[in-house]
Symmetry: C3
């Protein structure tokens, strides 16, 4: 959302940045990125796969990032790479860098004298920073953020507005936490004493690795005894719930409104799609993908893709299927019995 106006980069510079082979004129200046289907003069676009190939021959873009086998068909300058989408992401970061950090502490922020804040960090209006907090180099602490005692924020991490970080929690480097994120609230732990709930103090922390992004209003609870741990490079979408003691391995993603039950462990390179729920105390090995709106109620020990979501039908039709599903066991037993009886009579006959 930064103003891209003043940034102009030559195709050659872009190609060097993404290690692309240039076919065509490399001297032109590019000033923005664009989607394949509405790219205009001065823009660079990309061809992810053949779905958008129809737009290539008449593109108005000044340059196109694509794979080698399509370069011949490119009417403008081609930047040839192995993975055009990844290359596009890196080019886009060139044109739309994060807003710069402006070092300094806003006069309306409330800072404990016992907090350690790097001189290069930016602390915005109304932020509250308690004793023992450590904030690294080039951090940006947005308006209204609350950093509870003893928490630690790694270099180059940005907390957008109204983020709450609990006692002694740790966020790694280059993190990005969107507004309303709550890290380190109490896990949901109670013992049942003849019907009434007795709280079990939640004394663990949340430890978050480097390069982690967490979406708006998502929650990661502190551990009950051990710590809740989020690996490096993990990306978490909006309104996600992560329970106490959960461990998520490096480079996994969790999509919006998913919920991970307490004490579950998710491996590396996993993908938990939107709306999916994991029960507590499960283990998912590396490389597990769970598709949207599924329920995981047992551990998964083989990498692969797993599902249980049901897609919609017209309600009239769905109701009939639903009614059958509610009687499925009985119906199948009856059908089997009828067939058995027919067969037994046949055999007698």
């Amino acid at each position: 959302m930064s103003d891209a106006g003043p940034i102009r980069i030559s195709i050659q510079e872009i190609a060097d940045h993404i290690q692309a082979e240039v076919i065509g004129d490399a001297t032109q200046l590019i000033d923005h990125t664009a989607a394949m289907d509405n790219a205009d003069l001065g823009s660079i676009t990309y061809l992810k796969d053949k779905a958008y190939l129809q737009y290539l021959s008449e593109t108005q873009a000044s340059a196109v990032i694509l794979k080698k086998d399509l370069a011949q068909q490119c009417p403008v300058t081609a930047l040839v790479v192995d993975d055009p989408y990844v290359a596009y992401a890196r080019v886009s970061q060139l044109f739309y860098p994060q807003p710069p950090v402006v070092p300094g502490i806003h006069e309306s922020a409330d800072i404990s004298p016992e907090a350690q804040i790097a001189d290069s960090a930016q602390v915005d209006a109304k932020a509250v920073i308690e004793a023992g907090v450590t904030i690294g180099e080039n951090c940006m602490i947005g308006p209204g953020c609350i950093l509870r005692a003893g928490c630690r924020i790694g270099d180059d991490t940005r907390l957008m507005g109204n983020v709450c970080i609990g006692l002694e929690c740790e966020i790694g480097k280059r993190g990005l936490l969107h507004p309303g994120v709550v890290i380190g609230a109490d896990g949901f732990g109670f013992a049942n004493d003849k019907g009434q709930w007795v709280k079990i103090p939640q004394i663990g922390k949340v430890l978050i690795g480097d390069d982690v992004e967490i979406g708006a209003n998502s929650c990661i609870d502190c551990g009950a005894v051990h710590d809740t741990k989020i690996g490096n490079g993990v990306k978490i979408d909006n309104l996600v719930q992560i329970g106490h003691n959960v461990v998520i391995g490096d480079h996994s993603i969790v999509v919006a409104t998913a919920a991970i039950g307490g004490s579950s462990t998710i491996g590396s390179y996993c993908a938990i799609a939107g709306g999916t729920g994991l029960a507590g105390h499960l283990e998912l090995c590396d490389g597990v993908t769970v598709t949207g709106m599924s329920m995981v109620s047992h551990s998964i020990h083989s990498p692969g893709v797993y599902s249980s979501g049901i897609s919609v039908q017209e309600t009239r039709q769905w109701r009939r299927n639903h009614a059958r599903l509610h009687k499925l066991d009985k119906t199948i037993k009856e059908l089997k019995d009828e067939i058995k009886s027919l067969k037994s009579e046949r055999d007698k006959g």
Copy 2:
């Protein structure tokens, strides 16, 4: 929740407001609204449908809003309209208006000198308003709200506490955003580079129409390249997730905890019920209703009602049905094979 005490309105004035025909004494003063089953003296109530007809003959209300065909049975003053529920909503707005806007900026708010705030607007304590923000006439910006640079708030819009509006986002007129709403956080967009996620800058805005209400802690992400757009008259409940580039047509509603995947388009006059999830890159035409806890994983091109939610059974019974469902394909194949074999033997015999 405003104090209704001092408001007293004659039945005639109410009838004029909702264009009702009065049968009975129109001079009485009404001072509150009430539900049909416990309406008392001085109240006005309504009869939505015949479900509550039993209460009509003995009602203590001073007036009842109802349809023509029931007016004869009304023992007190009747206000005859076509749609009693809509009329009741408008009468209720008379008795319980929104709290008045008190123009002025609280001394503890942090306001950029480069923001433009209408003199008639109210800005509450601890609000943070950055450069280039525009706030229209009679707006109410609640405590702790954060308005990022360049965002625009239309006339008569109210942001309750701790709402965050992202860079350059636009909210229309007469909007109502409840506490904790986050507009314009980054969409969830990454390219996968051999297992690691590379962020794609999210450079679109969120554009929200007039008369839009958004429930507590709901999130609407900014667009990736194009903008995320919410039409006029759209009503969004609490804890709803709306991904980047989503477009929602006029007068649609999205109920609590629903999630709309990125780049999906929802038509006008649609209803997405609670807990429902839409995958990304789908299109729903105008007039689509999706019932609760359903999953939409394909586009819908015909108006109508769609479902896939499954309602509970006793767990013992559900488990048996669930086990059958997990083997449904195999079981049906087997049943078909058995029948086929019986038929083939019959035909041979």
Copy 3:
């Protein structure tokens, strides 16, 4: 998460606190609690059930809380109780008490002169407290909390950061509300006037009992006309949605990302598991448990356990079952017809 360092308690004192029988040396000092599988010297741990019995013989803990029948096998001091998990919860509370309340109002808080705040209460930085608010003894109002006019907070209740309490809402004693909780936002109530939505003013309050805990970013809407009511001892997890007019009985729990539709009533001692959704206008009697990711669309009048969640399979396998489910009614009709036809021929033969 409090620093347990200085707290040292003799086994005898602990035993007295939980009314346990001590077998072994009661004079040792304990300084922390630990899990059975990694308990070290100076710690007290517990044996909830026989699943962890393997660790007992070689435990390094200084004391173990367990049931009478296992006491003989305990190599260290045993504390015998009926319910070791409940006893452990109480012992853990001894070692990890909530941080102490530090009476006083932070200079950066914004307090109406018409608010009544007990001298023993703590009000943190950037809190906003409006006219007519009452805050009881020993309350802790965290940073950035917003207490709207007329709301009441009972003794010993703690609101963590950025909590919003709506107009005239009431929270009981010993409550604990985690960051981002929104109490008393408008319920989702509209009448449909030929396609357009007309707002119905939401004029009820939220009334919350004693000993209620509410997780991060959860929302409880105010009533439409009547009040929304949460009973004593209710525990609500993160990102939970509770609609207008809902009533929840004493000692029930609602787990993360569950949603309770408006005007539904849940009895006492109920458990609504994570991701589960209740439609509106339902009634659940006392003692109902609904397991995870289920949908409740009808009232439940018998205590018991209810489910409709579907657990994942490999996607390849699930897709085949899903395709069968979408045609279930048709397929079963066909199978029945085929069998009927076979039987009728048999009978003719």
